[in-house]
């Protein structure tokens, strides 16, 4: 044991204190040294110097223990109690006598003890300054985070990435141990991101109330099971709920505790910024999705246009032409001309129930089936019965196709036709009479075992056959009046022997004029066949 000294002050110690100060290191090491010299001078086995009135909530930047300023002869992390206490102006000195009962104790406010108190005061003030500087700098981080989230509104458009970023920033900013972000999807709040532990994957809408969540955090059904302290903020856009941001268990160096009012303000600020950012990202996502769907529809429209014949086949003594205008980008009407063997030409007009993409898909099915069978030379009712069974297998409930099919034998000037539930075709004789090509069977796709009959008619020079879809006759005027078959027959009769393409152009213009600006309600198709005079 070194001989007791009358004073712990020596130049070496002050030099060391000064050096440490210049290096910007906390002066705890110097204070430890000073305490050690004080304790050794008194023959003590252990001593500690604790700060008076330390701020328990402030994070420490210089010590693992918020109140201890210096220690001598104590095992790190040990739960040691000391035997004697001396209150100093700046803190508390605690010590234990050496085991051999050394001569001096630590009692009495002598000059050395007061010097130690002064050093402790300086150290405490320095530490307080460090803590306040730390807090001030962390407010800088807080400002930066809020600024960053604001900037993310304009730059980050990925909802998942944005959700994680917002949660990570919220959790770190309020020193939470855990956190979760739930976003409203339909009736439920779905977990979008989680930090620091498990969270329930889904909350019912009644469970996302912030006040209720905070009131009963330890329940087994809590969003963050096992958390002791919850703080929540609603994510809202114009008062409409979009989600809820939850953080749990505020950390300090001694463990976890409840959040403070400043944390609630910070979380609410982040939640309001998050709401705008997430809404922006969601709208962008929807716009992209819409754009993609529109591109798909354009592509589908192009594909469907390619299903229609580019030009009619040339047949001596006859003229034929077709026209189609879908009500939407893609439609449920179909027409075709194609050689079907034995010098015959098949003309088809089909109409799928419904409109848009579902109808267009069934049009493709009809086109494939008819093309394959007709190209293989299949004919008449046997051919259409195979198509019917195929459509029955391919189409859903309540989906059917009406079809009128006419096979022209140009040499005999005969037309053999089948009408599967379609609008009657009209034949305007050169003599001025009008005949209808009525139904010879049920629409395709309703009954797999359905049978179809064929009918035959002879065309005289100047006769005009018109096959059409109900989009023509049921075209509505603003007065709710339908165009009707009579007007169509009148129009065809009035056009006389004008070229077929001219008649089709006239039908096109007449339909638009009749609808008078009303949106087109159904797909419109016309196929014309004339025996030249």
């Amino acid at each position: 044991m070194p001989p007791p000294s009358s004073s712990v002050v020596d130049s070496e110690l002050w030099r060391e204190l000064f050096t440490l100060e210049q290096r910007g290191v906390a002066d705890r090491r110097a204070l430890d040294e000073l305490l050690g010299r004080w304790a050794r001078a008194r023959g003590l086995s252990a001593a500690s110097l604790d700060q008076a009135g330390s701020d328990a909530d402030a994070p420490s930047s210089s010590s693992g223990d918020d109140s201890r300023l210096a220690s001598f002869g104590l095992e790190t992390g040990g739960d040691e109690t000391l035997d004697a206490t001396l209150e100093l102006p700046s803190g508390t000195l605690r010590w234990r006598q050496a085991a051999d009962g050394a001569s001096e104790d630590g009692t009495g406010l002598d000059a050395d003890s007061l010097l130690l108190a002064a050093a402790a005061r300086v150290c405490g003030l320095k530490r307080q300054l460090e803590q306040e500087t730390f807090q001030a700098m962390f407010r800088g981080v807080e400002m930066e985070v809020l600024h960053e989230i604001g900037r993310a509104i304009a730059s980050t458009l990925d909802v998942d990435a944005l959700g994680e970023e917002i949660l990570v920033r919220a959790v770190s900013l309020v020193d939470a141990r855990r956190g979760a972000l739930y976003l409203l999807e339909g009736e439920h709040y779905v977990l979008a991101s989680v930090v620091g532990g498990e969270a329930r994957p889904r909350l019912e809408s009644g469970e996302a109330d912030v006040a209720a969540l905070e009131a009963a955090p330890a329940e087994a059904e809590a969003p963050l099971p096992g958390a002791a302290h919850l703080l929540g903020a609603a994510v809202e856009v114009d008062g409409d709920p979009r989600g809820v941001l939850i953080v749990a268990d505020k950390e300090s160096r001694r463990g976890v505790g409840p959040f403070v009012s400043a944390d609630r303000r910070t979380l609410a600020l982040i939640a309001s910024q998050a709401a705008v950012a997430l809404e922006n990202a969601k709208l962008h996502h929807l716009a992209l999705e819409k754009e993609r769907l529109e591109r798909d529809m354009e592509l589908a429209s192009e594909i469907q246009q390619k299903l229609l014949p580019q030009r009619p086949p040339s047949v001596d003594g006859f003229e034929m032409a077709g026209w189609n205008r879908p009500a939407r980008q893609v439609g449920g009407d179909y027409f075709d001309f194609r050689p079907v063997g034995n010098g015959r030409i098949g003309l088809t007009v089909g109409d799928v129930s419904g409109k848009g993409m579902p109808a267009a898909l069934l049009v493709s099915t009809l086109h494939s089936a008819l093309s394959v069978l007709l190209d293989r030379g299949e004919q008449g009712s046997a051919m259409i019965e195979v198509v019917n069974r195929h459509i029955c297998e391919s189409s859903g409930l309540n989906k059917f196709i009406t079809v009128i099919y006419a096979a022209l034998d140009a040499e005999r000037a005969e037309v053999e036709y089948l009408n599967a539930g379609h609008n009657p075709g009209v034949l305007l004789r050169a003599s001025g009479t009008v005949e209808e090509l009525g139904s010879t069977g049920v629409p395709l796709g309703l009954l797999p075992s359905a049978t179809f009959e064929e009918a035959t008619l002879h065309l005289e020079p100047g006769d005009l056959l018109c096959l059409y879809s109900d989009g023509i006759t049921e075209c509505a005027a603003p007065s709710d009046e339908e165009f009707g078959l009579d007007r169509l027959v009148e129009l065809l009769a009035a056009m006389g022997d004008r070229p077929l393409n001219e008649i089709l152009s006239h039908i096109d213009a007449t339909m638009l004029a009749f609808a008078d600006g009303l949106p087109q309600g159904d797909d419109q198709t016309v196929v014309l066949l004339r025996r030249l005079p």
Partner: protein
């Protein structure tokens, strides 16, 4: 994200050790890093590199513990460097003043070249 921080230590020659963190640097995570750093210092390492590539989040308690480790390294004339920080953590470190006493590098290669 995991419940607690995972640490991997690569002890190299010349008193250099690289510590890889994976997870949240909070009170628990920070204490684990500190315990590992002090064990490495006791084992004679004087140059530590903290690779934070797999850490996306750090709070103020975690930062205060990292500052303690920096102070400890300064006391023993050692050197602590960081690398592979996310932009958010890098900005936080600069605001909190860690960059004044510890070097911050973008890549591990760059950090190792500066330390050796």
């Amino acid at each position: 994200m995991t419940e607690s921080l995972k640490l991997t230590v690569d002890e190299r020659d010349d008193g250099l050790a690289v510590v890889y963190t994976d997870g949240y640097i909070n009170n628990q995570g920070g204490e684990e890093i500190a315990a590992t750093a002090y064990r490495l210092i006791d084992a004679g390492h004087r140059k530590l590199l903290l690779n934070l590539a797999e850490t996306k989040i750090v709070n103020s308690i975690g930062i205060s513990i990292l500052i303690e480790i920096i102070e400890k390294m300064l006391e023993i004339d050692g050197q602590l460097s960081f690398c592979c920080l996310t932009p958010t953590i890098a900005k936080t470190f600069h605001i909190m003043g860690l960059a004044q006493y510890a070097q911050i590098h973008e890549t591990e290669e760059e950090a190792l070249a500066a330390l050796t």
